[in-house]
Amino acid sequence: MQSFFQTLVSGLSFGAVYALVALGFSLVYRTMGLVNFAHGAVLMIGAYVASTFYLSARLPFAVAVPAAMIVTGAVGLVIERVLRPLENKDFDLMLIGTIGAGTVLDAVAILIWSSSGRGVPSPVQTAPFDIGGVRIPAYNVLVIGVTAAAMAVLTLFLQRTRHGAAMQAVAMDHEAATAVGIHVGRSNAISFAIGAALAALAGALVGPMLYVTPTMGDSLGIQGFAAAILGGFGSIPGAIVGGLGIGVIGSFAAQSFQGYSDLVTFVVFTVLVMIRPTGIFGERTVNRA
């Protein structure tokens, strides 16, 4: 029983990170109708920037992370601006454009930080919580808490603010949105920037749990993407549920199937998606073509 809960807890901790990644995917899809394939690379940039602020500039972790989110959000703005001519014109090319942007970010990261990675010490030095033999590192609790807060803030933003509503209007019908005075380009820019900031948050938080390298975005991006699909692509609560789901499935697969855990995780994912193709909180797909 103890081993069951231990496995569950570690699955939830990583699941929270996947949930943050999925949030970024879902947000950009929900407001722009675009699957952003640069998301994993943006996460990696966020992780590097945050660890640079934390380790080299010696800023407190709680300052380094928001600073990294702002810097990476700016990177997101640049990417959106570069791809803007393709918006509303050729959707597939824009998609490919994001793949290209990801490749550029990978190369830039190696230029700036070299291809060797860096370990990030945990900013929370308190002893792990021990509940009936199940050990929960304090930092993991922090990550889960921050993820929950991010989801709450994002939901409030989308539902209660003008900008949030505008972003969703653009996704539903960009011509009508323009007709009522919404600047589509600016709205998309904000959306992309927030998505990038979420990726940076995920990257910054996952740094102390793992190891920051130029390729870290690849597997985290795939897991987050799968999580977003599982929860319903475009759905904010779906991203959280999907992320936690992938994390927990992966954890239990690792326990029972050892070296084949990745295989099992994605087989389970495939079966679930075949049963319910639109995902758990399945939303109508956004039609931007």
């Binding site: 081993s3 326990q255 050892q258 070296g259 084949y260």
Partner: protein, 389 residues
């Protein structure tokens, strides 16, 4: 548009296409006389040697270490006059840690005129490249340590360190015979290095009459090792043997300690690197038992001299992989001097004939390409490796 301009346009395009196809059809570099063949440029000009390693991707650290070690030795040799007045010219190729890219590079360096190769630091890539290098008669000194390399029986392949079996048998002997540990658990990954470690260490334990109390395998890119560690923790081992690369090993230790496991960590070469220590955290890495032929930069005057030169050149202190690469390069340089910059099988035989007292020990190559047959045991104390008492 009338018919005639279009006809001209089409035939011009066809002619251009034909010219392009003709140009592309000549194999790159194969018919160039200046690629170091036996005609006029052979006895003059630089000695071209390739360095093939991961310069990107997750194994790029090892690639960096190897490149620096080789370059230091070659720069020193060139500064001292080179080989009969000829300088050694190194060209660095990125294999991205991918065996397929490695095979492409093997063909590329043959046609570029490189007469020898250093690398790679991953046995999987070296294994893929070895048959091509053998058919192209290019001697290769590699940092890989898998015993599968020996199974190739290539006269052109040489290891610059001991085999994985040597690391693990020395480690097992220390743990069981010297320290008397009985409950030993194993956690390895499923890539070629981890699988090799699993096999070698299990066999070493078996020869000492010990069966591991737990054996877990994780994928090589796994980041959450807690489920596997939870299963191991339940068996209460005294020692946890790890068979994974530097970063993953560090993560394993970090997560094991977070789970409250107090088992002693034991590992081969990866635990001797600064990368392992920074990923695990110094506090968690302390106490790790390391099996390594190069315990540190203070173990001998030669090591101190090497470390000083390396630090002056690169700004960071060297570790095992840089030292192995340096020794391998010194062996190659000694062989080139002995045979007057020969190539092909003659160079391979010259390497085999070299007796070299290196940082790792005394190199004396056998017919399988192994030159070093022992490692030492160290214990990480206060972030540094100290020889075990």
């Amino acid at each position: 548009m009338s018919r005639r301009p279009r006809y001209r346009l089409v035939s011009a395009a066809a002619a251009a296409a034909a010219a392009l196809v003709a140009a592309a059809c000549s194999a790159p570099g194969s018919s160039q006389p200046s690629s170091g063949s036996t005609s006029s440029g052979a006895a003059a000009g630089p000695i071209k040697i390739a360095v093939v390693d991961a310069q990107s991707g997750s194994e790029s650290d090892l690639g960096q270490f190897e490149w620096r070690g080789v370059k230091l030795a070659v720069d020193q040799a060139n500064a001292a006059g080179g080989i009969d007045g000829r300088k050694i010219q190194l060209t660095l190729y990125d294999d991205q840690g991918d065996p397929t890219v490695g095979t492409e590079l093997a063909r590329k360096i043959a046609s570029a005129g490189d007469i020898a190769m250093f690398g790679t630091a991953e046995s999987a890539v070296t294994l893929a490249m070895a048959p091509i290098l053998e058919s192209e008669h290019i001697p290769n000194i590699t940092s890989g340590q898998s015993t599968q390399l020996l199974a190739l029986h290539s006269p052109y392949l040489f290891l610059n360190g001991p085999t994985g079996l040597t690391y693990d048998s020395t480690l097992a002997k220390y743990l069981v015979t010297t320290k008397g540990y009985k409950k030993i658990a194993m956690l390895t990954n499923n890539d070629s290095y981890g699988a090799g470690e699993d096999e070698a260490f299990t066999a070493s334990l078996k020869s000492l009459g010990i069966t591991p109390v737990a054996t877990e395998v994780v994928p090589a890119d796994q980041t959450n090792m807690t489920p596997a560690l939870t299963a191991i923790r339940a068996k209460n081992p005294q020692v946890l043997f790890i068979g994974a690369e530097e970063a993953q090993s560090g993560l394993i230790v970090k997560q094991a300690r977070a789970l409250g496991m107090t088992a002693v960590i034991a590992e081969g070469a990866p635990a001797g690197t600064p990368l392992y220590m920074s990923t695990a955290g110094v506090a968690n890495a302390n106490g790790t038992i390391v099996s390594s032929p190069y315990l540190g930069n203070d173990v001998s005057p030669a090591a101190r001299k090497f470390a000083a030169a390396y630090t002056a050149a690169y700004g960071t202190a060297p570790e095992l992989h840089g030292a192995k690469a340096y020794d391998g390069a010194e062996v190659m340089i000694a062989a080139l001097k002995a045979c007057n910059a020969c190539t092909g099988l003659a160079l391979a035989n010259a390497i085999r004939a070299v007796h070299y007292a290196g940082l790792l020990g005394n190199f004396r190559y056998n017919s399988s390409g192994v030159g070093i047959f022992a490692t030492s045991i160290g214990i990480i104390t206060d972030g540094k490796i100290k020889p075990a008492g």
